[in-house]
Amino acid sequence: MLLAQQSQTLEPVAPWLFYLFAGVAVLGALGVVLSQQIVRMAVFLLFTLGSVAFLYFFLEAEFLAAIQLIVYVGGTLILIIFGVMLTSKNPFVRLTVPVPQRLLGWGIGLALALMTGFLGVKYVASQGAAAHDSPSLIADAPHDSQSLIVGVQGAEHYGVADLGRNLLGKYALPLELAGVLLLVVMIGAAYIAKGRHADFEEGGAQP
């Protein structure tokens, strides 16, 4: 509707941009699976999380993309890296799993991926391509404008304001609960990580 006119210029970019970021995300994820060094895994994870953040942009969720970048890439990942450093005499140490078990794990992962992917594709097919293979917001728009990339322009359609209204309205209680949870986590994490004093004093040699 509103966004229909501007979309055409950007449309050709969409598929390859999607494949680019999706590809990075997938490669990163595969790297996490296949790598045996924890630091490398962390770096691969970084790529994946970052690419997913970009994909959120395509999905008209730029606020979420920002959160993804800030909380995940900036917060969680750094936390993980800290964890790696704190818990490892040698950050590049390998804790490997025997090959048969690894194969089994990969097999199960592959089976799950195939199964869920298959279900997803079948679901979309069963719902009918016309209705659901294009963003529903612009389903009524002329066919040539039904490009994914239009969503980038869709901030005025649902933006931060919508999110804010929802957070303080419909989702107020969960928001409060999440806040309490974070408090609990903060205290709990501090307590657990500190450990019992006796342990520290007895095992003083430990870092």
Binding site: Y72, L95, A113, D162
Partner: protein, 111 residues
Amino acid sequence: MIGLSHFLALSAILFGCGAATILTKRNAIGILMGVELILNAANVNLVAFNLYNWAGEAVAQGAAPAVDGLMFAMFIIVLAAAEAAIALAIFLNFYNHFSTIDIERARMLRG
């Protein structure tokens, strides 16, 4: 043209990778990474469905576009962060106790 199914496929791959990671790592932090991957896969799904299905349906019924998918994703990110913090705290404690982060050693609770 990129459609819902593409995102679902991506999410499936991420989910599979996450599952495989959990199953093939002995390092507890590695397992945590696998969990993060799975959560991300779920987020991609939620956001994609929100755009392709739910938002439009709400508009069609005359309401404001729905953002429930995004809300869920946001909460998930928050909870993931919290979970990571707790998990890392536990791992630190575990490390203090066993001098290793190998979860094979974590079998004190077995029946």
